[in-house]
């Protein structure tokens, strides 16, 4: 790994942590667990486009572990791990297929993130009652995914230029 790449990944992880913190300070606009903007996904998405699959995965895993240690619990770790892994894998596969642009990739990631969290909650709490939230989280996942996709696309376009210096 080249020094420049290591440095870049380090900066991206720091950025993801800050965004996690910022997001935890925004009160949930609707009282539904798991309904989030997913600001940190901007970092994972951007990494996927400006670096590569391995770096995106690495940043995602390290971010989830550090966030759980800093602000979370074993429970929240399980949620974000399943949700984060699922959405990152789906985003990687969609991007590799080459048929989707960044907004489609991000929207699919948003949905799978929410579904992963709901499934984890159903398993951990041993209740099916949470399935009730599925439609809301499904739709909100699409919308936040599209928003994150637009931001990620703009960031990617600008960072692409940075690389040429």
């Amino acid at each position: 790994m080249r020094t420049k790449k290591i440095t870049t990944i380090g900066i991206l992880i720091a950025l993801a942590l800050i965004l996690s913190y910022v997001e935890s300070q925004i009160p949930a606009f609707v009282a539904i667990p798991g309904m989030k903007l997913g600001l940190t996904n901007i970092v994972v998405l951007t990494t996927l486009y400006i670096l590569d699959v391995k770096s995106a995965m690495l940043i995602n895993v390290i971010r989830i572990i550090i966030v759980a240690i800093l602000f979370g619990s074993a429970m929240s770790f399980a949620f974000s791990f399943v949700g984060g892994m699922l959405s990152t894998i789906v985003m990687i596969l969609l991007k590799k297929s080459g048929r989707m642009k960044i907004i489609g990739v991000s929207a699919a990631g948003g949905i799978t993130h929410n579904i992963g969290q709901i499934l984890t909650a159903m398993v951990l709490l041993g209740t099916k009652a949470i399935a009730w939230y599925l439609p809301v989280l499904w739709i909100s996942g699409i919308f936040s995914g599209v928003i994150i996709g637009i931001i990620g696309g703009l960031v990617t376009a600008r960072l692409g230029k940075l690389d040429q210096i």
């Binding site: 949930a28 009282a31 989707m100 642009k101 489609g104 929207a107 709490l125 439609p135 499904w138």
Partner: protein
């Protein structure tokens, strides 16, 4: 040189996904009806159940010393107090329909509405 943010495939996929979401929502809305039992579980285990038509106040002892206050009044169940910092469960509003629930993740408390048989409704969406 500038990469486009969105293509035809993206719009088709998002359209299909929104449609799927709407169908799931519709299916859940059409199958919902008033429930009659309020079932309280902590950490996956049922600890209490009450009829929805009787007004009570119940202190729930949640996971690791957390507590929530459940109130049933005029056929509606809601959380009036919680020890957790985010108070999400208190913001979830009043529930009365079969299958609706109030969930407090930090205390692992689930309050669920069920019908007379005490059975939770089955959802096929998770298959």
């Amino acid at each position: 040189m500038k990469e486009k943010l969105v293509g035809k495939n993206d719009i088709i996929m998002i359209g299909v996904l929104v449609l799927c979401g709407a169908i799931i929502a519709l299916a859940l809305l059409l199958t919902r009806h008033e429930g009659s039992q309020v079932v309280v579980s902590v950490d996956g285990k049922e600890i209490a159940s009450f009829p929805l038509d009787k007004d009570i106040t119940y202190e729930i002892d949640g996971y690791e010393g957390g507590h929530n206050t459940l109130i049933i009044k005029d056929g509606l169940a809601y959380m009036s107090d919680a020890s957790c910092p985010d108070h999400l469960c208190m913001g979830m509003g009043k529930i009365s329909k079969n299958g609706q629930s109030i969930i407090c993740l930090p205390n692992r408390v689930v309050v669920e509405i069920r019908d007379a048989g005490g059975k939770a409704p089955e959802y096929d969406v998770v298959g």
